[in-house]
Subunit: 212 residues, 8 copies
Amino acid sequence: MGFAKIDIDRKKRRGFSEAIYCPGKQPDHIARIIAELLSHKQDVVLTKLDQETCTYLQRSFPELRYNRIARLGYLGHRRKISKGNVVVVSAGTADLPIAEEAVTTLEVMGNRVVKLYDVGVAGVHRLMTKITLLQKARVIIVVAGMEGALASLVSGLVPCPVIAVPTSCGYGASFGGLSALLTMLNSCSPGVAVVNIDNGFGAGYLASLINK
Amino acid sequence: MGFAKIDIDRKKRRGFSEAIYCPGKQPDHIARIIAELLSHKQDVVLTKLDQETCTYLQRSFPELRYNRIARLGYLGHRRKISKGNVVVVSAGTADLPIAEEAVTTLEVMGNRVVKLYDVGVAGVHRLMTKITLLQKARVIIVVAGMEGALASLVSGLVPCPVIAVPTSCGYGASFGGLSALLTMLNSCSPGVAVVNIDNGFGAGYLASLINK
Amino acid sequence: MGFAKIDIDRKKRRGFSEAIYCPGKQPDHIARIIAELLSHKQDVVLTKLDQETCTYLQRSFPELRYNRIARLGYLGHRRKISKGNVVVVSAGTADLPIAEEAVTTLEVMGNRVVKLYDVGVAGVHRLMTKITLLQKARVIIVVAGMEGALASLVSGLVPCPVIAVPTSCGYGASFGGLSALLTMLNSCSPGVAVVNIDNGFGAGYLASLINK
Amino acid sequence: MGFAKIDIDRKKRRGFSEAIYCPGKQPDHIARIIAELLSHKQDVVLTKLDQETCTYLQRSFPELRYNRIARLGYLGHRRKISKGNVVVVSAGTADLPIAEEAVTTLEVMGNRVVKLYDVGVAGVHRLMTKITLLQKARVIIVVAGMEGALASLVSGLVPCPVIAVPTSCGYGASFGGLSALLTMLNSCSPGVAVVNIDNGFGAGYLASLINK
Amino acid sequence: MGFAKIDIDRKKRRGFSEAIYCPGKQPDHIARIIAELLSHKQDVVLTKLDQETCTYLQRSFPELRYNRIARLGYLGHRRKISKGNVVVVSAGTADLPIAEEAVTTLEVMGNRVVKLYDVGVAGVHRLMTKITLLQKARVIIVVAGMEGALASLVSGLVPCPVIAVPTSCGYGASFGGLSALLTMLNSCSPGVAVVNIDNGFGAGYLASLINK
Amino acid sequence: MGFAKIDIDRKKRRGFSEAIYCPGKQPDHIARIIAELLSHKQDVVLTKLDQETCTYLQRSFPELRYNRIARLGYLGHRRKISKGNVVVVSAGTADLPIAEEAVTTLEVMGNRVVKLYDVGVAGVHRLMTKITLLQKARVIIVVAGMEGALASLVSGLVPCPVIAVPTSCGYGASFGGLSALLTMLNSCSPGVAVVNIDNGFGAGYLASLINK
Amino acid sequence: MGFAKIDIDRKKRRGFSEAIYCPGKQPDHIARIIAELLSHKQDVVLTKLDQETCTYLQRSFPELRYNRIARLGYLGHRRKISKGNVVVVSAGTADLPIAEEAVTTLEVMGNRVVKLYDVGVAGVHRLMTKITLLQKARVIIVVAGMEGALASLVSGLVPCPVIAVPTSCGYGASFGGLSALLTMLNSCSPGVAVVNIDNGFGAGYLASLINK
Amino acid sequence: MGFAKIDIDRKKRRGFSEAIYCPGKQPDHIARIIAELLSHKQDVVLTKLDQETCTYLQRSFPELRYNRIARLGYLGHRRKISKGNVVVVSAGTADLPIAEEAVTTLEVMGNRVVKLYDVGVAGVHRLMTKITLLQKARVIIVVAGMEGALASLVSGLVPCPVIAVPTSCGYGASFGGLSALLTMLNSCSPGVAVVNIDNGFGAGYLASLINK
């Protein structure tokens, strides 16, 4: 395919197939990439996939599954479930799409996931009652927009790695997620690392690598 | 004085005299401004005053008092102590200079102050044991650098106003305090307002206005 | 509710119920949060609520009131009116939506409000004729976009706290409100604190805390 | 001279000789440029000239005059004094160096200058008592750091052009003068234009062109 | 009017009536402001006025004139034409709307205008053949987006003031006009001052003040 | 034409006619510029041309050719093909439009082009198998968004110049292409230069100048 | 201690004692914190510790060890060595201090470390010959300044998590490490997370959590 | 060497040896890298080398040559001089260090160089008299700080490639070279590419690749 060179070797080299970032790609190009992946017995994950393109693709690939809130499509064999728990924590209800993107990625990659949503720092007691659950996790993902303070707080309570996902949720001086991003990078609690704004897929992927 | 026009009316109009921001001013200019203020029976507060200039000024004004850590000089009558408590909370030991600047400003303006230092979010239990103290405050100042997450957390626990002071403490992506500033502006907990980076004086001044 | 954990304790802890920031939330989620709040006898405030979602919600909650300009919805018992005056000052007519958001928040929280609109620094005499009114306020909110110079000016005239709200009103080098935000943070007049760009709700909330 | 091509034609073409921006130039290069200018009967203005380099240059050019606060050196014939007044207004005492740079530039270029220093918006009555003086100006330069609000205020009072000079005076979110710069660019009062941060020379030069 | 306080005194104080910046204002509010201005015999200028709102307003004010490209509406007595020439120079055809905004403002304020469009630095000979025209101007406005280099070049050729208007024309690293803005602020040619990005009105207004 | 001054001399002076940047220009203005260019026997290249405007123009100029993905229109004589190869490398399928813009520009200017698409650093072996092809190029264009790491990598493998084109492909902290732009500017491999974000035309044009 | 509240519980809660960030803290404060930690049988790690302060501290704590390049001090029992390998990769020799900070942190926390220094993308074959070593790692830390492209490249070759550390090494448009930071956040290769600029300690700490 | 892996293959692969960027490297490390390079018969180029380190190195390598203004050290065989001319143009005298860095790099790599210094746009006639010289160049380097307008202007006059080098020369809103960088990236004249701020070495290196 002139427009794309599928990295067929990736599943073997990295343990998981190449994912397809959909924005900016033409629907028919995506369809041809899917066909190519399937012909090489790779799994398929489509990120930031909008409803319209999904509908188009499902005509050719009716088995394509879709998490509408997460805007994630996937297709392929389920994996064996790994032993450890991954806890996905979100600060607010508006962070749901990115939290769900992480959760679905984790599930597709064969992880056991526990969700803990809407426990932002404005009412910290909601989090404090869940400390035991948090302390039993093998790895935790924290999804937060606006000020993004939740990642440090969670990290300070647990002995496991924390992956922080800033979201673009907010307005004014949140500057499209920049505020949460900087907060998380400057965490005073060691044990936190950060992925790109709104990158729920990347967080789930990394958590899966750690969990295996 | 050609270089300065003292706002002699300010004490009457605003309840407190004009403070002098020292950086960029020549020591002899500062000395002449102090003399002018004293001749009009105004109080004197000197902010961001370095040790060397202070020593120079104390030769002419031996009664000038100086908080070296806060870099704040002051001179004049103590005021009546107001009723309410102002609690000054700091996230880390490196935020001490700015926290002390707020505390000294509050004391000079006649407020009762309680200090709660080094209770950052990396070990949140240090804060949680002080909730009663926090809930009795009339106004709280939160001083924090790096990620600046403490202001939201404190605000979520109390019914009083919180003034947040970002500090330039940190490195890399703290960008001289920008990270903490944005965090505080994007607080998901209503009841927080923010002053300039490292502006302990402004926070103390405002808290005093609220407390009166 | 999986997607949200209502902070039912907040009214008792902080004196006012949790407000709901609407953007990014699904209308049916908002409806379920309202129902949950009402079942616990909490007040309801919905910020940045668009007309369409409001209409949807009013089908289930016909008593939901709506300030269209402020994009604020609310529902619940009126409070006792507090004694002090809060003055809400705006620089220009285009700042109206944010000024109204602050005013409605203040009224819902039981404050007496005086409006002083369109008194920007380009014609400063409009403000100077209102000095007596300003000086009698318990707290003042200043709403301004573009250069945001009004907050310092007002603060210099009065003995009470000033809460500054930068707005995204402007173009070019206003950079979505950044210009007004920086102006207000750098106020040479002590006694000013700043909330997020376009955060009329937060300013009103904080003013109410100060006024009580 | 390999390192410099003097624009000898500039005095004829533009009405004033080329000025020399000193930082980054080697002292002996500056000396040779001065000699070249003098040999072509041009005037000499040296901007941002530090004391040490000035002392070096005065060994070769004892008639070189120096305003130490403004860091401006000059040498050459005084011009005829033009009719109109230029008023140079500064917000605070720390803006003095840049205000003086503008004043000296104006005087070297043959303008009548009135100084109005330390009349920032925190005590606006200091400015209001000078309205008659301001309204008689042919052009006004406003020099201000921190929030830079003074330019709009002055412009709103007068029928003449206002040139705004942001200064790097301030700390924290002043970001080296960015705050004042943005404020001035977003002036809600038409009739204001802005020069570079700390560019007192450029403001004086432009005011002189307008005044002629 | 609760939403607006017309600055009726402005024409007397500043020589020209208050202009109305239209974005963010409701059409009926604009109409009431116009009526108020007319009842006090003020001129009317409406900036950044879109076609739809204009059509709405012309129903009530049929004499309202409109420059569609400049998005400028105006209404009132023509002034006496001043003696000096104002030359409006633009770098490219895409800068036309802002250049026209300046031109129409100048004409409404009674200035004689010469247009010199599409003479950007990529083909500098187009400008060099017009040097005589430029040198006879009393004041020059230079409108340029992208790199914004034209202002320095023009200024270096003439003895009169140059007002530079950066435009948001461009893409990528033009960052909405930031690139042209910085270029113009850093002009190595003294005699240049800058207004806000896309502020053709402000440039025309200031040029008129200089020209009178 | 009042709105445009065609640089008719450019083909002679620079070897290629003036290209027309379409956004912000009115379709009838573009049509008149094309007619003017053709009447002077210049070639025509239209950049960032949308489909709708193209259709409008093809009514008058049916021979106008259009690369829809590249959004590039052109019209005129084909040139002699130069000897050297230009290789255009892209990191991902979403960078296709900008890569195609470079390719079409190169072909219109008479260059032999080899395409190497979708060989980003996440699967570097795709690039490593093409080293011989890369090492035979006279000049290479690398088109990449997101992190933009490909340019350094390619440059480190070859003895020829590399022109790097950052694209706005990405989300979150890609900040509209800023991330890729900074990466490319900071290349640790000498021999790389950078053009504006999404400027495939400029890269193709420069590569053609180098190749001749 | 008024200035600090040691988090004595942290070792139990998180598996490792509180580390002390030294800049901005007074040497005698640091000494008292160390004494407090030791009295509670905690380990001691001092980050960004300069030589002078270290010498001061070693007078009281002669057993304090110091990695001068890493600017890291530590004191306490060695831990059991964990099974997995952590590979620390650096792009250039100037990144050495941060790479060493990560390495020493890992060793103090009981990890087996393999160093792979100076294998930046300008000569990618240096990295490609080490693929087997990389593929056997349990977790990899990549330290890189300037363009920071190395993290994506490494991640694309391996099945384990990659922690990316941007450094402030570089000049001009590296903007103090911002360029490398953005590159790493926008990695097109999933499995990468990022810590603060120059935060070698945080990277080592997190890698240790993953490795256990 | 543990701290460095010399890319011995680079001269063969790329036509020129690896250059050493000196800041952040320890002098004895640099000395050992030089020795390693010489033992493999590579040329040596040291960039951003300060006088003190140079003196240290010359004790071991007395044949090391040094351009003090350019801060460039080099050592090795002169190459054959290539046929084409490279013209290095600078805007002002303060840009000299970077211009000289480019010139020395070009000479070390065997190019014939013509210098054209101090021909900035404030006096454009200085450039216009050299058009013939410019038009005969094979490639041109333009070095400029402040507004950086010179690159577009030069490019518009010539048929050859232009490499633009922004410098950090300037103050205030030049933001350490950002202004010139953006100007050059947004050049309206095609045929310009940009290297990092102050990267005279990179510009010279690239020009040499083009010239061969």
